[in-house]
Amino acid sequence: MSDTVLDERDIALTVNGRPRRARCETRTNLVDFLRHGLGLTGSHVGCEHGVCGACTVLVDGAAIRGCLMLAVQADGAVVETVESLADDDGTLSIMQAAFAKHHALQCGYCTPGILMTLAEVERDDTVELSEDFVREALSGNLCRCTGYQNIVDAAMDALTAIRNAKGGTA
């Protein structure tokens, strides 16, 4: 592109339950926008080519890679990031508490992405909870520190507890 005009758009979206408006460059991806445009630095950038999953956030309830979506594409959308998981009074979510209990994080860099992938999973009452299922669900999130075992244990623990609380069977 030879001209030097900045291509920007105004967007309006809901982020963690709050309406937000911003002006951003059209080429800015969603995770960079959340981090630097809105100051929500909990979502992280690991590869920028859609493999590591560190940038996973929910858009309209679906776990997506924030590095592969443009911020302007989230205009009008409902976005949820790791910062939305704890209660308003600060109590950690069942999943977050399970992660602490099971030592499911070490450096913590991949953790928000994993929590958001699991946030979609935990809302799906139809899935059959098993270790194989959880490992497959997490296959799009890379972790270099933990070896995944404690993450799987934490996820199984929390997903079972959440389902039981809803009155279903695991």
Binding site: E48, H49, M69, Q73, V121, S139
Partner: protein, 293 residues
């Protein structure tokens, strides 16, 4: 790796998108973004204009047309297809294949049209489309709509036979009726990776239990998915069984396979034979492999 600058367009009507596309000489259409955004971030592609297809009404959805043809809009999300009750019934192999496409995050955004246009040699959706001899519907502002048989859709490595001013708008499948043995198998390093080699099959038998119709597709072997025509011919009229499957699979030893720094053509051809045989065996092994329309 941040992408280069572009002018961004978000048309809401197909006609608008086609007009835009027709008037630009360095434009890219953005579907699910699971392939294109990575390429943009890596600066492998530097379009001057980016046409976002995600706001266009009418490009997504699954419709059954008269005559039993299923028309899937190009912008239909893979996750929607994966969970579609009707498709699970009429084309269960599609779901088998989709569950191996990347990960949850990939399929939540990725579209069937995007995968078809990206045409990665190992991609699952082009393989399934070829298995069914699907028809690709493409449109341009200048020439209107046309249909391309999936066999003719790949022009070169990762290049579909559509013009720069065309967009794929839909894919039409004609599901097989009756009891159809089916299986899609992929050999990959990790769950969700592109296959090294994949094999899919649809097999229908007559009332006497002889194979009446067979379709076998291989992915990851050639620069585009290919049908194992010789193997299909061998199956016809035969009673399904290990020896017959082995013979059909052996025909994959004669196909031309890609040779690159990661995998040799010898290995790919070898895998092709293994995967075809296993695919046929699995299709007939369990009730999972059987479907009634």
């Amino acid at each position: 790796m941040k992408c280069g600058p572009f002018r961004y367009h978000a048309p809401t009507e197909l006609g608008e998108a086609l007009e835009l596309l027709g008037g630009m000489d360095n434009a890219k259409a953005l579907a699910g973004g699971q392939s294109l955004m990575a390429m943009l971030n890596l600066r492998y592609a530097m379009p001057d204009d980016l046409i976002d297809l995600n706001r266009i009404t009418g490009l997504a959805g699954v419709e059954e047309e008269p005559g039993g043809v299923i028309r899937i809009g190009a912008m239909t999300r893979q996750r929607v297809l994966e969970r579609h009750a009707g498709l699970q019934h009429s084309m269960p192999i599609l779901r088998q294949a989709l569950l191996q496409v990347g990960h949850i995050q990939t399929r939540n955004r990725g579209t069937i049209g995007g995968s078809l246009c990206h045409l990665d040699p190992a991609a699952e959706q082009p393989a399934i489309a070829l298995l069914y001899e699907a028809e690709i519907e493409a449109a341009s502002a200048a020439r209107g709509s046309r249909r391309i048989g999936m066999a003719d859709f790949p022009a070169f490595y990762m290049t579909p036979a559509i013009e720069p001013d065309e967009l794929v708008t839909a894919i039409r499948f004609r599901p097989w009726l009756g009891q159809v043995r089916h299986c899609f198998l992929e050999f990959a390093r990790r769950h969700g990776d592109f296959a090294i080699v994949s094999a899919g099959c649809l097999v229908a038998c007559d009332a006497a239990g002889r194979i009446e119709r067979a379709s076998i597709v291989l992915g990851g072997v050639g620069s585009a998915p290919l049908r194992l025509v010789a193997g299909e011919a061998l199956l016809k009229g035969e009673v399904p069984g290990d020896a017959v499957f082995r013979a059909a699979a052996a025909t994959a030893g004669d196909i031309e396979a890609m040779d690159d720094a990661t995998y040799s053509s010898t290995y790919r051809r070898h895998l092709a034979q293994v995967m075809v045989r296993r695919c046929l065996e699995k299709a007939f092994a369990s009730e999972e492999g059987a479907a009634a329309a």
